[in-house]
Symmetry: C2
Subunit: 246 residues, 2 copies
């Protein structure tokens, strides 16, 4: 029985999504919970493999369960069994063959930045604190440059599992929030660290600091090498908020 | 130079306010930060000694600093030196002899309860998740009973440092929040665990469960022994939000 789950988690206590021996991962605790309840057939398929420290409020996974449970009961039972930093927001039966990963047409992330001298201790693991002056208008211009199809080689680690570096960004913008800013981005797919390195380079540019290299932000978006780009913002400001399906 | 600080902290990573050898405490990190910046004369005096896991958005402390710093510079420097889970919201020079503890006329706490089947992983360390049915009207009635001067012996651990058990509650009420409920309480002073044990006993009563003992909630408020009261709600839902001065 192919089952689709909508998950939320606080990434602080996890070594990322993907199961690794000896590391507490989201995949590890979700698989353990499902195994305990129903027995899984084959691995859990995930829409967005989040890194260590990255959060999700709209992660989607599909999994084949050994028996066909009523999904309402599964939903309730999962939340009883999962640890406090993961929640199943929804559980439903999915069409046979439906894949959370391959059927997704877009992913949306939000990167949260707190402004002002004083950080909020309650949100310290969920937003970047950036008290320095930022050119707000420049941030908007940089976000506009990100929209479209680009070669994002400069925005992912050199040691990579990716084979192609072109991705299509459908929407990218900075919005003002109650205590700062947030960068919202939607693309067909993302490279590893792509949002964090985009955010880091936009912030460094908007602070008026020089890039590590001499290329403009626009040049970085057209296949510049990783070494041409600068700072990768830390993972804790990032959250996977939505995955779109046809 | 007598200095008054307004502090916020996420209590999750602390063994409470009070310094203890070998334990990470808020007093410990604040004292270390002040010592590093200015050198303190004598101990930090605190308005509300919070327990392990309890948060604060409005903690007040006074401390005598070895030299008289401009408080604006101190404020900025403190936030640079303090760890991410503590922030100095304000710093100002206080009148000689002013004490954060002895001059306080009231303390206010909020206890947050999330309702509904699904918890919020991002707030798991900042609110109690209570998915069971609660008699909302009964909660209001119980909160009304808490207001006034009572002997709160039943609401603090048997092993106690307190010598008197009568406290005067100025205001107590349950309010509806976006995702649940919050209990707001203001009193001249509090016994250890008092808010958490009040909340625990109100919730157990509103669930329709029997108390550990046979006394009514009203009887518990008039000097019943600790053993007559039931559940102490966990610390992570509790936050010190305000301290009042004349």
């Amino acid at each position: 029985m192919n089952t689709r789950l909508l998950l939320a988690y606080d990434g602080t206590g996890f070594g990322g999504w993907a199961a690794q021996p000896g590391v507490r991962t989201v995949e590890g605790v979700v698989t353990a919970a499902l195994d305990r309840l129903h027995g899984t057939r084959g691995p859990v398929t995930v829409a967005g493999r989040t890194d260590a420290g990255v959060h999700a409020t709209g992660q989607v996974v599909t999994v084949s369960l050994a028996d066909g449970p009523p999904t309402e009961a599964l939903h309730r039972a999962l939340n009883d069994v999962l640890p406090p930093d993961v929640a199943a927001l929804a559980a439903e039966t999915a069409p046979e063959g439906f894949s959370a990963r391959f059927d997704a047409t877009a992913r949306s992330y939000v990167y949260s930045v707190r402004r002002g001298v004083v950080r909020d201790p309650m949100r310290a693991s969920q937003e970047l604190h950036e008290p320095r002056r930022l050119d707000r208008g420049l941030l908007d211009e940089l976000a506009d440059l990100v929209v479209g199809s680009h070669d994002f080689t400069a925005f992912t680690p050199i040691e990579t599992e990716h084979r192609t570096f072109r991705r299509t960004v459908e929407a990218a913008r900075w919005v003002d929030t109650e205590h700062g800013l947030a960068f919202e981005i939607t693309a067909n797919a993302f490279l590893r660290h792509m949002v964090r390195t985009l955010v880091g380079n936009m912030i460094v540019t908007a602070r008026g600091d020089r890039h590590a290299g001499t290329r403009s932000f626009a040049e970085l978006l057209e296949g510049a090498p990783r070494t041409a780009a600068g700072w990768t913002a830390p993972p804790h400001g990032l959250c996977l908020v939505h995955v779109r399906y046809p």
